[in-house]
């Protein structure tokens, strides 16, 4: 038993022995099978903890919204108690921690490319509506799933006009949406069962609130269309959510030999790349929250490398798993790099200082799979990789949030296989070795090893 398992098991609550009701005739107890699905249906509607779960329901957008809102609302009120007390509540509930201090804007990105900033640009002089106070303390929500009205927790009001209020939520994970409230008896009320209660924010786009891509900037026209579709007066859009965030000059600066320097908006991360390559916002996975996700494209728009830094709990990333003899692997090239590093498990024989590595796996069917990128985990020992080859560095700080800058995040047999995108495939090991002489490899290596991070 390892230390984490030991700690968890020692903290396991003591519950009474379960009753052992004898079940001798299910039909007598539960009725005829298939005749009373009401409870099942209700459960299906509210099963989203793992949306791809066994019940796998198509969740109604507004009901899902109500649920999430209600749960979050309940949780925020308990933050202080949670800090002082013991264990935890249902898995469906959000984190029992106090909401963070309000940021200046409702974006959690630490350094999106500056051509994709997400700060709304509200029109000056937001009008208030009559004598109603245009502030977060004057918001109520109804139809949240909880009885009665709830105050809207931790909201950042953007503006009020024409009996409407636009605001954003400040809890982590809610930055992709704007919420709206209508003036009723002196208070702004958000009816979460109403279509007008929210729209996607400037920096997100997608088919629904649960399936979307953030790190983009939509146009005024697109936002107006969202308002119209939701039934919110389009003419109030500038007052309620501002105007399209201004795009800023590109983040790169030319250097002498045909290379540019990319720097994140906060200046904490930088790397150089060929002038002809483009740094674009990368595709976010469903588990990504916040942080910086980039893709670097060559002249032909082929993605040469992906970078992810400061993202929170990417559920889509693989970790070591499985066992067995593993696959034969070869380190074809490596160089250590001066980057922040906090090993997840310093005692692991596979933990290693940060480095750029070009590694190849022989997968047994005659093909050679390879990837280049930063890593702090050896592929294996004695030429056998028991797990996948992972291009990721642990750290950099106490958060242990790993970061990557590589052609592919992982190579090997991985589920889901999308995580292996960017894998280089060669017919023979000689071909993999020859690839190191190409301009693409040399430029990619120079680019990746130029990464500098100030945590």
């Amino acid at each position: 038993m390892d230390r984490i398992e030991q700690l968890m098991r020692d903290a396991k609550p003591v519950v009474a022995e379960p009753p052992r009701p004898a079940l001798t005739d299910p039909q007598a107890v539960f009725g005829r099978a298939g005749t009373a699905p009401m409870l099942s249906e209700e459960v299906r509607t509210f099963s989203d903890d793992y949306a791809d779960g066994p019940l796998d329901p198509p969740i109604d957008l507004h009901r899902a919204s109500k649920r999430r809102w209600g749960l979050r609302a309940a949780v925020v009120g308990l933050a202080a108690a949670a800090a002082a007390a013991a264990v935890v509540v249902a898995g469906n509930l959000g984190s029992l921690v106090p909401a963070p201090a309000p940021p200046a804007v409702s974006s959690t990105a630490t350094g999106q490319p500056t051509d994709a900033t997400s700060t709304p640009t509200p029109s000056p002089g937001f009008p208030t509506t009559g004598s109603a106070e245009c502030s977060s303390s004057n918001i109520s929500t109804i139809n949240s799933g909880a009885p009665g009205e709830l105050p809207a927790p931790q909201s950042d009001v953007i503006g009020c006009a024409g009996g409407w209020m636009g605001y954003s939520r400040l809890e982590p994970g809610w930055d992709g949406e704007y919420y709206f409230a209508k003036l009723q008896n002196g208070r702004f009320v958000t009816d979460l069962s109403a279509k007008w209660s929210r729209v996607m924010s400037w920096n997100c786009r997608g088919v629904s609130f649960d399936v979307g891509t953030c790190g983009v900037v939509v146009t005024n026209q697109e936002m107006d269309e969202r308002f119209a579709a939701a039934g919110i007066p389009v003419e109030l859009r500038p007052q309620l959510v501002g105007d399209q965030p201004a795009t800023q000059p590109g983040p790169t600066a030319s250097v002498a030999d045909g290379w540019k320097v990319y720097a994140s908006a906060d200046g904490k991360l930088s790397f150089s790349h060929p002038e002809s390559w483009r740094v674009v916002p990368g595709e976010r996975g469903p588990g990504d929250s916040g942080g910086l996700i980039l893709a670097i494209e060559d002249e032909g728009k082929k993605i040469v490398a992906r970078l992810a830094y400061g993202t929170v709990q990417n559920q889509g990333r693989p970790g070591p798993g499985g066992s067995g003899p593993g696959l034969a692997y070869t380190v074809l090239d490596y160089v250590e790099v001066p980057l922040p590093y906090q090993p997840f498990d310093a005692t692991s024989p596979l933990a290693v200082s940060p480095r750029f590595a070009y590694r190849a796996l022989e997968n047994g069917d005659g093909k050679v799979l390879a990837s280049y990128g930063l890593t702090s985990t050896l592929a294996g020992s004695e030429g056998r990789a028991p797990y996948q080859v992972i291009n990721e560095i642990d750290g950099p700080g106490s958060g242990f949030d790993p970061y990557m800058f590589a052609s592919a995040f992982v190579i090997g047999q991985v589920d889901p296989p999308e995580m292996t995108r960017g894998t280089l495939t060669f017919g023979t090991m000689d071909e993999a070795i020859a690839y190191m002489q190409t301009a693409e490899y040399k430029n990619a290596k120079r680019m990746i090893t130029s990464l500098r991070i100030t945590p």
């Binding site: 519950v15 299910p26 903890d49 019940l55 798993g321």
Partner: protein
């Protein structure tokens, strides 16, 4: 005379009722309600008429949704506050170690998915295959989620706890 499916269902009920009950009892404070919800899980399983008798993963997934509904249907703030207060009192009464309290605090600070994966693995003692069935993902992905959850736990737990070993 019971049909084959009924025999299978009774066997499944006998085998898994305790685990399903404990799963719920770890997450809500009312033992009687936990028992009712556990029964509801099996009622749903019966009503669904799946061609195969569901396994523990399906049952746990259904229990998770019922627990979520339970919070939705109650005065959540009050009931959760009571639960937390109950647990604080229980901890004092049973002289649970400061270490356990610290772990509880760490759990409270994890995101809900990490917390659930850890609880499923170490409290509900699901195997990786059962975890996968409960989460509706592949075994490999379940391993990934557990790995990530462990990392999050390790990053949040006080360092002295990670180095202390008992027994």
């Amino acid at each position: 005379m019971l049909a084959t499916r009924e025999h299978q269902f009774i066997a499944m009920h006998t085998e898994h009722f305790g685990r399903v009950y404990r799963y719920i009892a770890y997450r809500i404070s009312d033992a009687q309600r936990a028992e009712e919800l556990a029964s509801d899980v099996f009622r749903i399983a019966w009503e669904k008429q799946n061609p195969d008798v569901p396994g523990i993963g399906w049952l746990i997934a259904t229990a998770r949704n019922l627990v979520g509904n339970e919070y939705r249907g109650r005065q959540r703030e009050r009931s959760l506050t009571e639960r937390l207060a109950d647990q604080a009192r229980a901890a004092a009464q049973t002289h649970r170690s400061p270490e356990a309290a610290a772990v509880a605090d760490v759990l409270s600070r994890l995101n809900d998915k990490d917390r659930e994966v850890l609880m499923l693995s170490y409290w509900d003692e699901l195997t990786t295959a059962e975890l996968a069935a409960s989460l509706g993902c592949s075994v490999s992905a379940a391993g990934v989620r557990l790995h990530r959850a462990r990392k999050a736990f390790a990053s949040a737990v006080p360092s002295h706890l990670m180095s202390e070993r008992q027994g």
